[in-house]
């Protein structure tokens, strides 16, 4: 008994110790003491207190440090070799730019939301000099935008004081394209948007082997290429084609996203099952075509017919024949003098000659938004440091490498900050680069208040969150675990992106039927009313609040980030056309509202009564048509690439919403949803009809909504693979686009309308942005958006937003997100406290800041 008492007492003692050690005290909630907007500065001991503030703020006697964090330490901020966004985090501070965006201000000095102006930076002038170099560089006889002269500032220096001129940019490009290095970013100048003449040939000179045919050949000419290009549907890697070994794959595979597990036969089977069934392109023909040249295919009537079927399905642009072929090619020897970049008439002029034109200037000669978008700068390395960092290839290899920009010593800066220290996996520190040309420019007057940027590597978000509350870092993303408490904080801000999350519903009736079993129905999904009911049963506002950190209800294919007129800040969703589409799809009669904005604000996308009516209607129709039996259960499979907490949350919400919808209908208790993991092949599997519902959406082309529709209309992209947009017809009147402003009424397939909108060569009309005012194209964009929405294969549910907290220490110049400027970044960031003032403020608040 005594032992028992002692044991109990011992357990209690240990428990008390644990409680004492790990007890969590109450929150002192001191944050209210730190009021944003007051500056309590003290002197920086490193600076002369007698120095007055100057217009840049960098001689401000107070010292301002911005503390931030990254979960992954950068490793290689070399402009020639960087690989991902992790590397660019340092690059963005230490590099300058020729052209940049800036906020647009109104007459009262206020920022005009959504708009921007273009600004010269390291460059002082940009001229289109195509005519001057047309003959010498064999440029097309017509057209502009092939050659530009960039005049740069004469006061540019590296952080160590070394002067920078045009020769440095040309030297750097020579190094960028050096075939001995095969730099990761070399392709930016032959496969991206700024394609220098002969850049690819220079990088790959002497290389021989198999390549995707559209690599070495940009244009398909039957006479020249038919005997040189070899057809293959097989993946990359050693494989036998005739007597050769081919280790390249045709670019068709990459465009379609076929994984390596899809060999030639499986790829052909996929194409036949989904696109080419019943055509001359058969499995036997595909096997016979494999490894044959175009000339051999054309010489055989059966193979020619198969090829015609294949290319007829695939081709929308010229030269796309090459997408199915590989070729053995030897890149010619090229001298760097033949590459389209050189020093102009003096040491401050760089001339670039492009193989594809870029319209960097507007008609009046001023900078187009594309100048900063496509050519914000050219790569630049510090010659002496670069040469010292070259590493010869190891034995058995031929690749030269470089250690440039991998630590503080071998890093050089020509941007507003320079790297002071770097410890891998731990921390990097940037300080003001006094030699930056921008500090001499009026455009930056009063900006860049930040003296020092300290970035810690913190792998755990929870650790970073504690640091943020302690005032040790000045910004953090809001995790879903704290979203409820903090997304209403005064210090929270929300960053939109162009991603629209949608539910994708299966369109392939054959596959749906094939996957049915006794008592389990899936064919109901082929009924448009049923799909519409599924859409109307989701309370999007509630859904986004419960399943996402900060995203907002989404109703259309486009959101506020999609610009139809970039130069003038025209957002598609803000146009009358864009608003009317939503009203019509969601049954809001806009004539009954004060204006369109009020009508759009009334849209919820949620109408349970109508959903139940539609469900009952669809059920009865299906019953009459024999597509469902009484008593059948509708079991839909919800597929995903990985099952995790987030996916599970979305799945449960949607499942509950759909089951709630069925209450009081003939399908009450008979609708169910199951979750399945389809791993990396989830998207292709969905398109192939392997399951019924997925969450999918698109990002990209945010500044070209007309082109972006491709994602929903083109069979190479759209999730609704069986919804044949080449056969779905639309009758539409394009107003004011005919002769003398006449209307044009046509009945065409959706893809034909799309072809017109984007100026396809085989389209009946050219209504591309080059031929038609953006405001006139809107009507067709809206019509096509409506056609996609009204079939309910894609059901938009949310517009993606990121949520963050910013510390009391700093403020952005605006909290209204601007696509071009964000929130103004470090350029416009202002400090409410200097370093010592901040420490005092945090201590005064009890050491922990309350951001609720």
């Amino acid at each position: 008994m005594k032992n028992l008492v002692i044991r109990v007492l011992a357990v209690m003692l240990v428990a008390l110790m644990c409680v004492g050690l790990f007890a969590c005290g109450g929150n002192n909630g001191p944050a209210n003491g730190t009021t944003a907007g007051t500056t309590t500065g003290t002197q920086n001991p490193n600076q002369d207190p007698t120095v007055e503030e100057d217009f840049t703020g960098h001689k401000d006697p107070k010292f301002y440090t911005y503390n931030t964090y990254t979960s992954l330490s950068p490793s290689n901020w070399n402009e020639l070799t960087y690989q991902d966004n992790n590397d660019t985090q340092i690059m963005s501070y230490i590099a300058g730019s020729f052209f940049s965006y800036d906020f647009k201000y109104d007459e009262y000095g206020e920022i005009v939301p959504g708009e921007f102006v273009m600004q010269y930076g390291a460059a002082t002038k940009l001229e289109d000099v195509t005519d001057a170099y047309r003959e010498a560089w064999e440029l097309p006889e017509e057209g502009k935008g092939y050659a530009y002269k960039i005049t740069i500032r004469e006061d540019m220096k590296w952080d160590d004081g070394t002067a920078i001129d045009a020769n440095d940019f040309v030297y750097t490009m020579k190094e960028q394209l050096d075939p001995l290095f095969q730099h990761y970013r070399a392709d930016s100048f032959y496969a991206g948007s700024v394609n220098l003449v002969n850049a690819q040939n220079y990088v790959k000179q002497g290389q021989e082997g198999w390549f995707a045919a559209d690599g070495p050949y940009a244009v398909y000419t039957a006479e020249e290429l038919d005997s040189k290009i070899v057809f293959t549907l097989a993946p990359a890697g050693p494989l036998s084609v005739g007597e050769d070994t081919v280790d390249a794959e045709a670019s068709f595979r990459a465009a379609m996203g076929f994984p390596a597990s899809y060999d030639a036969a499986k790829t052909a089977a996929y194409l036949i099952a989904n696109y080419l069934g019943g055509s001359a392109f058969t499995a036997e023909a595909a096997a016979a075509m494999e490894g044959k040249t175009m000339a051999e295919i054309k010489a055989d009537a059966t193979l020619k017919a198969a090829w015609d079927a294949l290319i007829g399905w695939w081709q929308t642009d010229p030269d796309e024949e090459l997408d199915f072929f590989v070729t053995y090619y030897t890149f010619p020897e090229v001298d760097f003098d033949e590459v389209g970049i050189f020093v102009g008439d003096n040491n401050y002029e760089i001339v670039i000659v492009l193989s594809q034109p870029l319209d960097l200037l507007k008609d009046d000669g001023s900078l187009s938004y594309k100048a900063a978008y496509n050519l914000s700068s050219l790569p630049l390395v510090h010659k002496a440091k670069w040469e010292a960092c070259k590493v010869a290839p190891a034995e058995g290899a031929t690749l030269w490498t470089s250690t440039y920009c991998t630590n503080a010593l071998n890093t050089a800066s020509w941007g507003p900050y320079k790297l002071e220290s770097f410890q891998s996996g731990m921390q990097y520190v940037l300080v003001r680069n006094e030699n930056w040309y921008g500090y001499n420019m009026d455009e930056y007057k009063g900006q860049y208040q930040t003296d020092r940027i300290v970035c810690d590597t913190v792998k755990e978000w929870n650790s970073a969150w504690l640091m943020f509350q302690k005032g040790e870092i000045d910004g953090i993303g809001i995790d879903v675990t704290i979203a409820d408490d903090y997304k209403t904080s005064d210090r929270a801000y929300f960053t939109p992106d162009d991603f629209v999350g949608s539910l994708q519903l299966q369109s392939d009736a054959t596959q749906l039927e094939a996957r049915q079993s006794e008592g389990v129905n899936k064919l109901l999904l082929t009924y448009q009313d049923f799909r519409k009911a599924l859409s109307l049963s989701i309370n999007r506002a509630d859904y986004t609040a419960k399943c996402t950190t900060s995203s907002l209800a989404g109703f259309g294919l486009f959101n506020s980030m999609h610009y139809y007129d970039v130069e003038n800040g025209g957002v598609y969703r803000n146009t009358d056309e864009g608003k009317k589409v939503l009203c019509e799809i969601y049954g809001v009669d806009y004539t009954q509202y004060e204006d369109l904005d009020a009508a759009v604000a009334a849209i919820t996308g949620y109408d349970l009564d109508q959903a139940r009516e539609l469900l009952t209607k669809a059920y009865n129709e299906a019953l009459a048509a024999g597509d469902i039996k009484e008593g059948d259960k509708v079991l839909l499979t919800f597929g995903t690439g990985a099952i995790n907490e987030s996916v599970q949350r979305h799945f449960e919400y949607i499942k509950t919403a759909w089951q709630t919808m069925a209450v009081g209908t003939p399908l009450e208790g008979k609708i169910d949803l199951e979750l399945k993991d389809f791993a990396a092949a989830w998207a292709n599997d969905f398109r192939a009809g392997a399951y019924d519902v997925c969450m999918g959406g698109w990002t990209g082309a945010a500044w070209d909504p007309g082109y972006f529709l491709l994602a929903y209309l083109d069979e190479g992209y759209r999730y609704a693979a069986a919804w044949d947009t080449t056969k779905v017809m639309m009758t539409f009147t394009m107003k004011g686009v005919g002769e003398n402003g006449a209307d044009i009424t046509e009945t065409m397939s959706l893809m034909d309308w799309y072809g017109c909108l984007n100026g396809y060569s085989d389209a009946k009309y050219d209504w591309s942005s080059a031929a038609l005012e953006e405001s006139q194209r809107l009507q067709l964009i809206a019509a096509l958006e409506k056609e996609v929405l009204k079939v309910y294969y894609a059901v938009p549910t949310y517009n993606s937003f990121g949520a963050s907290l910013i510390s009391f220490k700093v403020d952005y110049v605006t909290y209204e997100y601007n696509t071009f400027m964000g929130y103004g970044g470090f350029r416009y960031m202002t400090f409410n406290y200097d370093d010592e003032g901040w420490i005092a403020a945090v201590q005064e608040a009890g050491g922990t800041l309350n951001y609720k």
Partner: protein
């Protein structure tokens, strides 16, 4: 002489084991397919393949192995990182050496704290067997052994570092510690991680020592020692402890050798730039040179540790003679 022969034999076996495993590792990692097609829109789909070829990765595997060994032996060149986002283009040996000090220091501090404290608690519990002190210690040991270290780590971070503000939330950078790993700033910033690493070890040593010592203290030779006139403390220190340490000591040796390997979780939570997780990331990223260097290093450490531990038995207990017939 027997011992010498035994050591030579073990070293020979060690070299053979190392060679076989090293070759197997090299061949297996090279047999795994590398994704050379994942490039972004507007990028050259062939560039990754071209780079791999230029690195000599298209040669026969055994030829690559020969070149790899040659580079190591002749140039001390273990290669450069290729695919791990945090170490691309960096010399793998330099990265490893740069990351070892924080890991070693935290492990050493942890061992220096945990071993004496754990053994002392174990001795105390054994001497106070079945008294309340023993029950307190045994219960605490049970708790600390049962709870994984990342739980202590999280609790320490929240209470000691965040709530009570007694210690820093993260390890100091070299820049913050005047480039000195032995500065007070650096040491103070390591304390939370050291504590988190120590609790489990303290509990382990306390339990082991208590169990061994309890058994030894009840042995007949202890009675003999007391009857020949030794005090209890003298008998315990001179005879009981030495015998009890036979199974404990090798684990201490193992602990000190283990300081070269980091703790993935602890290093993540306390933001320690150590080697924990490096190996796992190298495998997941298919970074050949990192994988091989780390495989070789840890393989060697494991084999040497096994040898040292075996030999240590002979030193701690003269009755044990390795290799004797």
């Amino acid at each position: 002489m027997y011992m010498f022969k035994y050591v030579l034999k073990r070293i020979g076996l060690m070299v053979m084991t190392f060679s076989i495993i090293f070759v197997v590792c090299f061949v297996l990692i090279k047999l795994l397919p590398v994704d050379t097609t994942s490039v972004g829109v507007g990028e050259d789909a062939t560039k990754l393949l071209t780079q791999l070829k230029a690195r000599g990765y298209d040669r026969p595997i055994m030829e690559q192995f020969g070149l790899y060994l040659r580079r190591i032996v002749l140039d001390g060149d273990f290669g450069v990182g290729v695919s791990m986002p945090e170490y691309r283009g960096q010399n793998v040996w330099d990265v490893f050496i740069e990351k070892l000090p924080p890991t070693i220091l935290i492990n050493i501090y942890s061992s220096l704290f945990a071993v004496p404290l754990g053994i002392a608690l174990g001795i105390f519990a054994a001497l106070k067997k079945n008294k309340w002190q023993d029950h307190v210690i045994s219960t605490a040991v049970m708790v600390f052994i049962s709870v994984p270290s990342f739980v202590y780590a999280s609790l320490l971070l929240y209470t000691v570092c965040f709530k009570f503000d007694l210690l820093p939330l993260k390890m100091a950078s070299l820049a913050e510690a005047n480039n000195n790993y032995f500065s007070w700033t650096m040491f103070k910033s390591m304390i939370p991680a050291v504590l988190a690493m120590s609790f489990g070890s303290i509990a382990g040593y306390a339990r082991g020592t208590r169990a061994e010592l309890t058994e030894v203290l009840t042995s007949e030779f202890m009675l003999l020692a007391r009857t020949k006139g030794l005090t209890k403390s003298m008998a315990t220190i001179r005879h009981a402890l030495r015998n009890a340490m036979v199974p404990i000591f090798p684990s201490i040796v193992g602990e000190f050798i283990g300081v070269l390997s980091g703790s993935l979780v602890i290093e993540k939570i306390f933001t320690i730039p150590g080697v924990g997780g490096l190996y796992l990331t190298a495998i997941n990223s298919m970074d050949y040179d990192f994988y091989m260097m780390l495989s070789g290093f840890y393989l060697l450490v494991s084999l040497v540790a096994a040898l040292v531990i075996d030999l240590s038995y002979g030193f701690i207990d003269p009755r044990i003679r390795m290799g004797a017939r």
